[in-house]
C-alpha cells in the first residue's frame, strides 16, 4: 500500500490541504504535491492503462520521463488529455481522469489484448489483416484505432478557454536546468560578467541533490541552493525562470522555452503558457540524468518503480509506495533509496544487487542499518497484477531459476543513469559511449555548431556524465566558465563550490535480468511501458532483419510513446545490440528531436487567435462597408466587399442590382486596395520598358497606359494602368494581390541586376484611398461636387489630372475596367472615408450604388477584359490571351521575352482566349473543360480548352464566359462541348470575348 508517512516531505506544506478529484472521487493532498504524489498518498497506485495491451499501470518515475501515469486533466473547454501526473502540480478543484480503458480503470475490457499479447508481437499488424481487402478499412482499422489512441479527444466543439503568448529573449549564456549543476554553471558564467538566463522546468530549484544528500561547501544542499538563488537574484545580469522547460535547441542558438504560467492555478488571469523564443550565444544543458529501469519479468506491475522515484516521493512528498520495498540494482545509487526507506521506518526486505561483489561504502551503510544485501542476484520476476505481491530472487548469471520468493508491496529498481542528452543532440551534437558508466554522453569534440561555425552547446553536470556531487559542481563550473569565455566574459573567480558525498563503486551493465532469461521471462520484461514493447519484441525485430535502430524503433514502436523513450531508449538499444551480436555504439542511437517533452499547440500558436489570427488589412472605407452589410471576400490579407446585400436580399440579387445600377446610372467601387507604386529617376522609363511587355518610356506626361508584366519565365503575372506623372516619374497600378509582390519584384531587379540604373521606387499604395466612380452619370456627380473640369475635353479617356473635388485634394484617372464612363479618384487615405461619404450623399439623386468585387468581375467579363488569377493561372502567357497588342515589337528585351520564344510557348496548339456562349443562355460551370475526341495514352479523356471566367450577365440577361480553346480565334461560331458535372455536358458557341459595347461607345464619352 502506498501512503503518506508522518515525516519528511520537503516540497509539501502540510498546513495547506488541497482537495481534488480523480475519476470522480474526491481526494486530498497538500500544496506542493504533484498529482502523482497525491495519488500515491491516497493509495491510488493504479493510474493508467498501457497503450497496446491495456495493462494496469502505476507511476514508475517522478518527473517528465513518466510513461505510465498519464491522465486527462480538467473539463470542458479546459480539458487536456495526456498530461503526466508526475509533473502536474495539484490545486484546489483539480479534476483528473485516467485514460485508455473502458468501462473503468479497474475493470477494462481492453485487457483482452493482454491475453492475446502472445499473438500481438512486434510487426503483428503488418502480417495480419491482409485479407479480405475491405475489412482493413471498415473492421480491423477502426478496432485498432479505438483500442489505441490513449487520451480522450477534446470535444469537437470545444474552444480553449485560455490564451497564450510568445516572448523573445536574448542572452549570452542560457542555462537549461536549475539543479545544482545549472545553478553552479549560471553562477560561474554570471560572475564572469555574462548575461545569463536560467530555465528550470519544475517549480523548484535544486534538482536531485537535496534528495540525494551530501553537502556542498559544508552546507546541506537545500541551503546551498537557497544561497545560490539569492546570489543570482542579486546579480543584475542573471535571470531565473522556473516552470519553464527548455523544449528545443535549434540552429544558431535559437531555443524554445515553454513556460507554464497557470497550469497550477487555472483560475488565475493571464496567459496559460508562454513560449519563449530565446537567442543565446551559448547554451549550457544542465538537464541532469534519468535512471534506467531494469529488464526483468513483471517490471511493469504497479508498485515497481525507479529507485530514485521511490526516494523522491519519500523525501519530497512524504509518501511511500509500500511498506516493504525490495531494491533491485546494478549500482550504488539505489542503496540510497533503501537507506532512506529504512530511516523512515519502512521495511526493505532485501537489496538484490546484480554485481557479484556488490557495492562500496553505500552498501556498507545499508548493511549497517540491518538491510539484507544479496549480491550477484537477479529479480527473476515480480508477481502481482494490479499491485506487487512478491519478487522472485535468482542469480544474475543464470536463466531464471527461482531461489526465493520475497513478499513485498513495492520494488525499487535501478539500472544506472543516463545523462539527458536531448538538448545537446537536438541541433546535431554527437554522443560517445561511456563504457564505464554504460551510457551515452556528449562528445565534447563534436558539439553542435552555430552560425559562426563554433560550438554553442555545453553540457553540464550529470547531463555531461558527471555523477558524483563534487564532479557535478566542478564540471558545471567549467561549463559556466567556458561559455562565459566564449562570449568574452572572463572576470571574477571561476572556482566551483565543493561537494561531498559518498563514493560509489562502479556499476555493472545489466540489460537483461537474469542475463540468460528464457523466452517466457523476456516476453514479460518491458522496455517501453506505454507502448508495450518488450525485450522479446526487439529481439524478434533483429531476427527479422530490422537491424538499424531506426528500423527497430519503427517496427516495434519502441520509444515512440508520449515519453519519447526517455526510459526505454538505452535499454532497447542495448537489447538490439545484444541480439545482433554488436557493440552498443555500433548500433548507434536514434535522432533526438524537439520538443523535450510535449508542448501545447496553443503555446505554439501564441496570440494568433480569433481577431488577431492574421492581420486583416482594411481600407479607409472599411467602416462604411461593415456598417452597410458587406458580404466579404478575402483577397490576400485584405477583406473586400463581394457585394452589399440589403436587408432581405440575397447576395446573388445584390450583385445583379449593383451591376444594373452601375450600367444604367452610377456605381461606386472602393478600389483602395489596388497597388500604387511610384517609380522615379532618369532611368525610370527604361526600367519600366524592361518590366512591362509594353513600351512605357514613350508614354506622355498626363497620360495613362494599360500594361502587362511577366515573370522571367514568360508567364503573365500582373497587369495595371501606368500613369506618367512627370518626365522622371511614373505611378504604376498593380492588382490588389500584386502591390507588395510587384514592389518587391521591382526592388529585386533594381538592387540585384540593374543596380547602376538610377531609379527609386516607393510603394505608396496605402497613402491613397481610391474610389472608382462609374456609370453614365459619373461625370454629372463629379461636376456636382465641383472644383475641377472633368469634361471629355479637359480629361479625356486615359488621361489623369490633379485637382480638387468638393474641397478634397484629388488625383483623377480616366480609366475604366467596366466599359462605362469611369473616373478613378485618389485622395489621401485619411480623407478617404469623408470623400466616400460625400460621394454617397451627392450621388443620391442618381441612385448611387456601391458595388463589390463580384459586380466588378462581371462587368469586366462583359467587356472581355482579363482578370489576373482568372484568365491567368501562372501557366498563361499574354499571347494566349490575345494581348499581342500590348507586347511591344520595338523593344529588344523585356522580362519574360526570351522565355516566350521557347518551343512550347510558340506552339500554335496553345489554347487561346475566346468568348463562349451557351446555346440556351445558361451559365457554363466554373472551371469546365472542353471535350475533344478520344483518350490519351493514360486513358484520360482528351480536352481542347477550358472555361476561365463564367457569369450570368445581368446586363445581357444570359450566361457569358471566357475560355482558352484550341485554335479558338479561328473557330468563331463553332459549337463545342463542355463538362457540366458528372456525365453532363453543355454546348457552347465560340464567340468574340467582348460581349458588351464592342465599339467602346459607353466609356469614350
Amino acid at each position: 500500500m502506498s501512503t503518506r508517512v508522518h515525516f519528511q516531505g520537503r516540497l509539501i506544506n502540510r498546513d495547506r490541504p488541497v482537495s481534488f478529484k480523480f475519476n470522480g472521487t474526491l481526494l486530498n493532498g497538500y500544496q506542493g504535491d504533484t498529482l502523482a504524489s497525491a495519488l500515491l498518498a491516497n493509495d491510488q497506485m493504479l493510474m493508467g492503462r498501457s497503450f497496446k495491451y491495456h495493462r494496469p499501470r502505476g507511476v514508475v518515475a517522478s518527473g517528465s520521463e513518466e510513461p505510465n501515469a498519464i491522465v486527462g486533466l480538467g473539463t470542458g473547454n479546459r480539458f487536456e488529455p495526456n498530461q503526466r501526473a508526475t509533473t502536474t502540480e495539484i490545486f484546489h478543484g483539480l479534476t483528473a481522469t485516467s485514460q485508455n480503458h473502458w468501462p473503468s480503470l479497474n475493470y477494462d475490457v481492453g485487457i483482452v489484448n493482454n491475453l492475446l499479447s502472445r499473438f500481438l508481437s512486434a510487426g503483428f499488424y503488418y502480417k495480419m489483416f491482409i485479407h479480405p481487402r475491405p475489412f482493413w478499412k471498415h473492421i480491423y482499422e477502426p478496432f485498432i484505432r479505438h483500442s489505441a489512441g490513449l487520451g480522450k479527444a477534446p470535444g469537437a466543439e470545444s474552444r480553449d478557454a485560455d490564451r497564450y503568448e510568445h516572448f523573445y529573449a536574448f542572452c549570452d549564456v542560457l542555462v537549461i536546468g536549475g539543479g545544482v549543476a545549472g545553478l553552479q554553471s549560471a553562477l560561474t558564467a554570471a560572475r564572469a560578467g555574462a548575461k545569463v538566463l536560467l530555465l528550470e522546468q519544475t517549480a523548484h530549484l535544486g534538482g536531485r541533490a537535496p534528495v540525494d544528500g551530501g553537502t556542498i561547501d559544508g552546507m546541506d544542499p537545500d541551503a546551498w541552493v537557497a544561497k545560490a538563488r539569492a546570489e543570482l537574484h542579486a546579480l543584475p545580469n542573471a535571470q531565473i525562470r522556473t516552470r519553464t522547460m527548455g523544449a528545443g535547441v535549434y540552429d544558431h542558438g535559437y531555443v524554445l522555452g515553454y513556460e507554464r504560467l497557470t497550469d497550477h492555478a487555472p483560475e488565475a488571469a493571464g496567459p496559460r503558457h508562454r513560449l519563449w523564443r530565446i537567442r543565446a550565444a551559448q547554451i549550457i544543458t544542465a538537464t541532469g540524468a534519468i535512471e534506467r529501469p531494469l529488464s526483468f519479468a513483471g517490471n511493469d506491475i504497479p508498485g515497481v518503480m525507479l529507485a530514485s522515484a521511490v526516494r523522491d516521493y519519500l523525501v519530497n512528498f512524504g509518501v511511500s509506495p509500500g511498506d516493504r520495498t525490495v531494491v533491485v540494482t546494478n549500482n550504488d545509487d539505489a542503496y540510497r533509496t533503501a537507506i532512506a526507506l529504512v530511516q523512515a521506518g519502512l521495511k526493505v526486505p532485501a537489496i538484490l544487487d546484480a554485481r557479484p561483489e556488490g557495492g562500496g561504502a553505500l552498501m556498507d551503510e545499508a548493511k549497517s542499518l540491518g538491510i539484507r544485501v544479496e549480491t550477484g542476484a537477479a529479480a527473476v520476476k515480480v508477481k502481482g497484477s494490479k499491485c506487487v505481491h512478491s519478487i522472485c530472487r535468482g542469480v544474475q548469471a543464470g536463466e531464471g531459476e527461482v531461489l526465493e520468493e520475497i513478499f513485498c508491496d513495492a520494488v525499487a529498481m535501478s539500472g544506472g543513469w543516463s545523462p539527458v542528452v536531448h538538448l545537446w543532440s537536438h541541433c546535431g551534437g554527437k554522443l560517445i559511449w561511456d563504457a564505464s558508466q554504460a551510457t551515452f554522453r556528449p562528445d565534447h569534440d563534436r558539439a553542435p555548431t552555430s552560425h559562426d561555425g563554433n560550438p554553442f552547446v555545453i553540457a553540464s553536470g550529470a547531463a555531461d556524465g558527471a555523477f558524483h556531487l563534487n564532479d557535478v559542481l566542478q564540471n558545471a563550473a567549467n561549463a559556466g566558465k567556458t561559455a562565459a569565455a566564449r562570449v568574452g566574459a572572463e572576470k571574477g573567480d571561476a572556482a566551483a563550490s565543493s561537494g561531498e558525498a559518498q563514493g560509489e563503486a562502479p556499476l555493472v551493465p545489466v540489460w537483461m535480468m537474469p542475463q540468460g532469461a528464457k523466452k517466457q521471462l523476456r516476453m514479460k520484461a518491458w522496455l517501453d511501458y506505454q507502448n508495450d514493447v518488450k525485450v522479446s519484441d526487439v529481439q524478434l525485430a533483429a531476427q527479422e532483419g530490422f537491424e538499424s535502430v531506426e528500423h527497430t524503433k519503427r517496427y516495434t514502436t519502441l520509444g515512440m510513446a508520449t515519453d519519447q523513450g526517455k526510459l526505454s531508449n538505452i535499454n532497447g538499444l542495448a537489447t538490439l545490440a545484444n541480439a545482433l551480436g554488436a557493440d552498443i555504439p555500433q548500433v548507434g542511437t536514434t535522432t533526438f528531436r524537439p520538443p523535450y517533452t510535449p508542448i501545447s499547440m496553443g503555446a505554439i500558436a501564441g496570440e494568433a487567435r480569433g481577431d488577431i489570427f492574421q492581420p486583416i488589412r482594411k481600407t479607409p472605407m472599411q467602416g462604411w462597408h461593415e456598417a452597410n452589410g458587406a458580404h466579404w471576400e478575402p483577397v490576400g490579407h485584405w477583406r473586400r466587399p463581394y457585394a452589399f446585400p440589403k436587408a432581405g436580399e440575397s447576395v446573388h440579387d445584390a450583385v445583379k442590382r449593383e451591376v444594373l445600377a452601375t450600367r444604367n446610372s452610377l456605381g461606386l467601387l472602393d478600389a483602395s486596395t489596388l497597388g500604387k507604386i511610384i517609380v522615379k529617376g532618369p532611368d525610370a522609363g527604361r526600367f519600366l520598358d524592361m518590366l512591362y511587355t509594353n513600351m512605357m518610356s514613350t508614354l506622355k506626361v498626363g497620360k495613362c497606359r494599360y500594361g502587362l508584366m511577366c515573370s522571367e519565365n514568360g508567364f503573365l503575372s500582373d497587369d495595371g494602368v501606368v500613369a506618367r506623372i512627370d518626365e522622371d516619374t511614373f505611378l504604376c497600378h498593380t492588382t490588389t494581390g500584386g502591390a507588395d509582390r510587384i514592389h518587391a519584384h521591382m526592388e529585386e531587379w533594381l538592387q540585384t541586376e540593374w543596380w547602376d540604373w538610377k531609379v527609386w521606387t516607393v510603394n505608396a499604395t496605402e497613402q491613397f484611398a481610391q474610389v472608382a466612380v462609374v456609370g453614365p452619370n459619373a461625370r454629372k456627380l463629379l461636376e456636382k461636387l465641383g472644383g475641377m473640369d472633368v469634361s471629355k475635353e479637359a480629361l479625356a479617356f486615359m488621361d489623369w489630372k490633379d485637382g480638387e473635388l468638393a474641397g478634397f485634394p484629388v488625383r483623377v484617372y480616366r480609366i475604366s475596367f467596366s466599359g462605362e464612363l469611369s473616373y478613378e479618384i485618389a485622395v489621401p487615405a485619411n480623407l478617404g472615408r469623408a470623400f466616400w461619404d460625400k460621394l454617397i450623399e451627392a450621388g443620391q439623386e442618381w441612385n448611387i450604388t456601391p458595388y463589390g468585387t463580384e459586380a466588378l468581375h462581371i462587368m469586366r467579363a462583359e467587356k472581355g477584359f482579363i482578370m489576373i488569377g482568372d484568365e491567368t493561372d501562372g501557366t498563361v502567357i499574354p499571347q494566349d490571351l490575345g494581348l499581342d497588342w500590348a507586347i511591344s515589337k520595338k523593344k529588344d528585351d523585356y522580362i519574360g521575352k526570351r522565355a516566350q520564344a521557347r518551343s512550347h510557348m510558340t506552339d500554335p496548339k496553345r489554347w487561346k482566349l475566346v468568348g463562349l456562349e451557351t446555346l440556351d443562355g445558361s451559365v457554363l460551370r466554373d472551371g469546365a473543360y472542353a471535350l475533344a475526341e478520344g483518350t490519351n495514352e493514360n486513358g484520360q479523356r482528351n480536352t481542347q480548352g477550358r472555361v476561365t471566367s463564367t457569369y450570368r450577365s445581368p446586363t445581357l440577361n444570359k450566361g457569358i464566359a471566357m475560355g482558352l480553346v484550341l485554335n479558338g480565334p479561328d473557330r468563331m461560331g463553332e459549337v463545342i462541348e463542355f463538362t457540366a458535372g458528372g456525365d453532363d455536358i453543355a454546348k457552347a458557341k465560340i464567340v468574340n470575348a467582348v460581349f458588351f459595347d464592342p465599339e467602346g461607345e459607353k466609356q469614350n464619352v
Partner: protein, 109 residues
Amino acid sequence: MLLINCPYCGVAAEETELHAGGEAHLKRFGPDSSDDDFTGYLFHRENPKGVHFERWRHVNGCGKWFHAARCTNTLEVFGTYSAQTTEPPKDLLDTLRAKRPGFKWRNIA
C-alpha cells in the same frame, strides 16, 4: 532558425526578417541567348551539400538584398556582402579557403 547579418543595416537578423532568394551571381540571359544558356539561367541551380553562395533580402528590415556564403550542411554563415557585385569579395574567399580547404562552387575554389 538562421541568424544572418545584414551587411546594409548591421542587424543580426533572424530568419523571419529575411526572405531567401536562391542562388547568387546568376548571369541573366536575354532574347538572343541559346536554349542551353537560357535553361541554365532559369533552372539549373547549384545545389551543393556544403558551401553555397546565395541571395537574401532583409525584407522585414531595411529591405535590402544581399549575398551570403553559407554551408548547406552545417548552416554556418561565412559572411555576407553587397548585392551589387558579380562575385564574392576576396577576403570572404580567403576565409572560406581557410575554413573549408578544397571547397568548390561553380568555378570558384
